[in-house]
């Protein structure tokens, strides 16, 4: 699969990757390596110039409420309450009857049950991002795509969201793909990290992060070892090995010819 702004220069080239259902995958790379472009292609915000993205058997041809993207800014609507913001996705896809049951459940899931009737502007940045998470989760997506969603938050808020988002995703059986340039974020959150190389963007390394939830909190030897290992890969990425192909495909991104 490739994608280019101008025909002569590909932003991404020869991306061939498969993601299992329920997996938490981090796309790690420096600014401008095309990791956001790759995420946008999975979401349908942009379409590849060649090849295709397939989610759970469906070729991505555009946006869908079944795969939802979360951005760096929560972008809540300031004229609405927290609950109204969280209900937007359900409202847009014509499931207004589900709002009364689903929204309180989602707000409880992100620890904001008591904030339903507050104006979105009364909340802190971290709380707003939690509302954005509830808004993304309410329509019950199969896949959640995170485009550096915590990079505007302070360290403590960021860490609690990193932990909670991972736990929520695991509890709901949600597949999570996140883009980050923060190695520790990848170690804390991901089961699997894809390290991207730039010009054109390609997957240079595909490595598993084998830590339990407690170890992911940090401060232990296992965590530090994984951090050092991933940092070394990230630094030496230009000489990485080609990615392997795991089974139990949930999301597959591949050139057309290989799909057939």
């Amino acid at each position: 699969m490739g994608w280019s702004l101008i025909p002569s220069r590909l932003v991404l080239d020869s991306i061939n990757l498969e993601i299992k259902k329920g997996e938490v995958v981090a796309l790690l790379g420096r600014s401008g390596c095309g990791k956001s472009t790759l995420l946008h292609m999975v979401s349908g915000l942009t379409l590849p110039s060649s090849g295709e993205v397939v989610i759970n058997g469906n070729t991505v041809r555009g946006l869908s409420p079944r795969w939802v993207m979360m951005f760096q800014a929560p972008s809540l609507f300031p004229w609405m309450t927290v609950a109204q913001n969280a209900a937007l996705g359900l409202r847009f896809v014509g499931r207004a009857s589900d709002i009364s049951a689903r929204v309180p459940e989602m707000l409880a899931l992100v620890d904001l049950a008591g904030f339903a009737d507050r104006n979105a502007q009364d909340l802190s940045g971290g709380q707003q991002q939690r509302v954005a998470l509830a808004r993304s989760l309410a329509p019950d997506p199969e896949l959640l795509l995170l485009d550096e969603p915590f990079s505007a938050l302070d360290a403590f808020t960021r860490r609690s969201l990193q932990r909670d988002v991972r736990q929520i995703a695991r509890r709901l059986g949600l597949t999570l793909v996140l883009v980050t340039h923060d190695v520790s974020e990848a170690v804390r959150m991901a089961d699997r990290v894809l390290v991207l190389d730039a010009n054109p963007g390609r997957i240079a390394e595909d490595t598993a992060i084998d830590l339990d939830d407690e170890q992911r909190e940090g401060g232990c030897e296992r965590f530090n070892a994984e951090l050092v290992r991933l940092m070394a890969i990230y630094t030496a990425v230009a000489h990485g090995a080609p990615p392997e192909t795991p089974s139990e495909t949930f999301v597959s991104i591949a050139p057309k010819s290989q799909q057939a």
Binding site: L45, A73, L88, G89, D122, G125, P139
Partner: protein, 273 residues
Amino acid sequence: MTALSANSGLRLALPSLSSLRGLAVGLLGITLLLALWWLGGWMIANDPDLSAFADFAPAPTFAALTQIVASGEVIDMSLPSLGRVGQGMMIAALLGIPVGIAIGRIGWLRELTNVPFQFLRMISPLSWMPLAVMVYSSWDSAIVFLIAVASIWPILFSTAAGVRRIDPAWLKVARNLGANPLSMLFVVILPAIAVDVLTGLRLALGVAWVVLVPAEYLGVTSGLGYSINDARDTLDYARLAAVVMVIGAIGFILDYAFMLAIKKFNWARDTAH
């Protein structure tokens, strides 16, 4: 939590203090205006060349005002005027808001219409009067047309400016959550620009209310403009001044109503995070 509740307590306390002060300053201003008016009336009454116009002074005016209010005449003369302004502004809003949204959203349309619209905007609505009289069979329609022409520009430009200030991220989020163009319009764009549209309507009302009176000098036999003309023809200057008071009072009340609506729909906070 505690910081927030303390903050909201503060927010409750401050406006009541400032609104009390605002009321006092407003009353002082009105008193000053009345004093100047009384002084003017006194000077006119003592000038032999102008003493015929002495009824413009506050005392005769308030007597005439009491009379037209008590007899219900004030309703009879105001309703036709309010109807014409309402219809004219309605037409202006129905044209101006959609066109404003289109201009705000579509770059090439904005560039294309900028010069012609600025050109048309600068033409006094009253200069269309002869044309309006020829085109429309009734005076009423001609006046409604003039008010619509006067009102459309503030509504259109204010709407377009509001649309341009919409955070593109709101539209991206909505699209990402599966919003179709219709819900995009009603759930995102219109609430986001509500205050701009209302501000445009408030400005439009100011222009429309000014245009109304000269427009009603011609042809029609009802309305506030007609009442002024009628009072002049019968040399009833106290009544003329009383109608002027009514025009000012209604204009002030309508403007205040728009201000309250703007306050209600305004979601922007000074203390936004």
